[in-house]
């Protein structure tokens, strides 16, 4: 059995002001993900990618079907989730260092201990952040890094990211993808990355799952054979463009209407 097993999962929402009909978001979705895999979920806007992450994080229950992570139901293992609107989750009354220390504090450490541990962790991964400044003093990319460091400090077993680099310009985005890769390649946390940028999804992942329009189903499950560590040069290889074509045709196939 795979690490994450998603079997015949359905999820629908109430449509506001309409009690008879429900909006079907996921329909009989099946997916399995191995431990230490980096998997991107790629699909049209509004197809239910975020809903899928919420189900895996245990923030929402499925209507039907079953999700297990390491044999247990969702929400039982240490999970870090970077929301699409992650800026709202930063704590502006805390310095960067204390933001990063927060997950340690709520998992039983004193503030002093948590700070010390956070410092050691940031040193180890070579983080460059103005630690004594407050989140509102940071640039967009720095805020992003802050959220990522904070998500990883308490060594989660599962890392979920929902289109985290959307607000960044191209340069910054490339830089952040590189940072995320180098962090991931050193600790290999099972990662699910929702994206609607095709190059980003391929460049980062071991597998790209292409979802159809709502109600979402898996259209294709494409293994990315590029070696690791990934380099930007790989974006220009023939192999990369072949994979890109396969992802694109799967995307078109799944794009109804």
């Amino acid at each position: 059995m795979a690490y994450i097993e998603i079997k015949n999962v359905c999820k629908s929402y109430l449509i506001q002001g309409n009690t008879a009909e429900r909006l079907e978001v996921l329909k009989n979705l099946n997916l399995s993900i191995e431990k230490e895999e980096f998997v991107s979920i790629f699909g049209p806007n509004g197809c239910g990618k975020t809903t899928l992450l919420n189900l895996i994080a245990g923030l929402l229950p499925p209507d039907k079907g079953e999700i297990t992570i390491g044999g247990a139901p969702p929400g039982k293992i240490k999970t870090s989730f970077i929301f699409q609107n992650f800026e709202e989750t930063l704590l502006p009354w805390r310095t960067c260092l204390d933001n990063i220390a927060f997950p340690l504090e709520v998992n039983g450490m004193s503030r002093k201990e948590a700070r010390k541990k956070a410092m050691a962790y940031l040193d180890k991964i070579g983080a460059e952040l103005p630690l004594n400044q407050f989140p509102y003093q940071l640039s967009g990319g720095q805020k992003q890094l802050l959220a990522i460091y904070r998500a990883l400090i308490f060594q989660p077993e599962l890392f979920l990211l929902d289109e985290p680099f959307n607000a960044l310009d191209y340069d910054m985005r490339t830089l952040m993808e590189g940072k995320l890769l180098s962090i991931w390649e050193t600790n290999r946390i099972t990662t699910l990355f929702v994206s609607h940028e095709i190059d980003e999804a391929i460049y980062l992942s071991d597998r790209v799952i292409v979802l159809s329009s709502r109600p979402a189903q898996v259209v294709a499950d494409i293994r990315i054979g590029l070696g690791r560590p990934r380099t930007l040069e790989m974006l220009r290889t023939k192999e990369f463009s072949e994979i890109r074509n396969r992802v694109l045709s799967a995307f078109r196939e799944g794009y109804k209407k």
Partner: protein, 250 residues
């Protein structure tokens, strides 16, 4: 144009208008002194020992009443803001009580607590507590759900979410409540002193007595002292807010 002298120019314009009005005798000269005479009276009053004891009495009633209100209003507001059950139970009641002009309860406080410090402080506490409760409640109620969800995903307990997230996120609103209520506390402290003449006169009592004795110059000087105290309290709180709630609007 932003110039630090502009506020001073505003004051000067006010004084000139005041002076002109007092010259034109639109208002009977006996009722309105020109500013320089009030200023002289102010200096004279401030050199007496009596005024300091009255200022202290007013501040004591205001600050003690305010402090009690903080002790009651903040936790109650947090509770009502955080628990939807508590909110549904008490929100309308709090809104109703807040809508009662506190001064309408003066007779009640006099009957129950007398005309000394207790009655005056009770009036201050009644009004200030409700203001603090409402501001705190709104602060807690409007906290970001996403932020709490984040805390939950990294394993924070309800208690941690409350202590480390909600409390801080509500602080700007709580603090706005404190600032509003310290000004209100001073207003009601002074009103109470004008009506409940027990114990030390305080600034309110002194203003009332000055009018009673037709010493209008002294009355204006006392009013200026009240204004300065109110202004100082407000500015003091503003400075505290800027220091501790540095993240607002950023």
């Amino acid at each position: 144009m932003k110039n630090k002298f502009l506020p001073l120019i505003g004051v000067v314009i006010f004084l000139i208008v005041w002076y002109i009005i007092s010259l034109t005798h639109i208002i009977k000269p006996a009722f309105l002194d020109p500013p320089h005479r009030v200023f002289k009276a102010l200096l004279r009053i401030l050199s007496t020992e009596q005024i300091w004891s009255d200022i202290f009495a007013t501040l004591y009633r205001t600050v003690l009443g305010f402090s009690l209100s903080v002790l009651i209003g903040t936790p109650v507001g947090m509770l009502i803001g955080y628990s939807s059950t508590a909110r549904n139970t008490f929100e309308s009641l709090v809104d109703f009580l807040r809508s009662i002009p506190a001064t309408a309860l003066l007779p009640l406080f006099i009957i129950c607590l007398g005309i000394g410090d207790a009655g005056k402080i009770a009036l201050v506490v009644f009004a200030s507590t409700l203001i603090i409760t409402i501001y705190t409640m709104l602060g807690v109620k409007n906290c970001s759900k996403t932020r709490q969800l984040f805390a939950k995903t990294v394993g924070a307990s309800q208690m941690d979410i409350f202590r480390k997230i909600v409390f801080f996120e509500a602080l700007p609103s709580t603090f706005a409540g404190l600032r509003t209520s310290i000004s209100l506390a001073l207003v009601l402290g002074i009103v109470a002193e004008m009506i409940m003449m027990g114990g030390k006169a305080g600034l309110g009592g002194r203003i009332y007595l000055a009018r009673y004795g037709s010493d209008y110059t002294e009355m204006y000087a006392l009013i200026v002292i009240c204004g300065l105290i109110g202004y100082g309290l407000n500015k003091g709180f503003q400075a505290l807010g800027n220091k501790f709630i540095h993240w607002v609007g950023k």
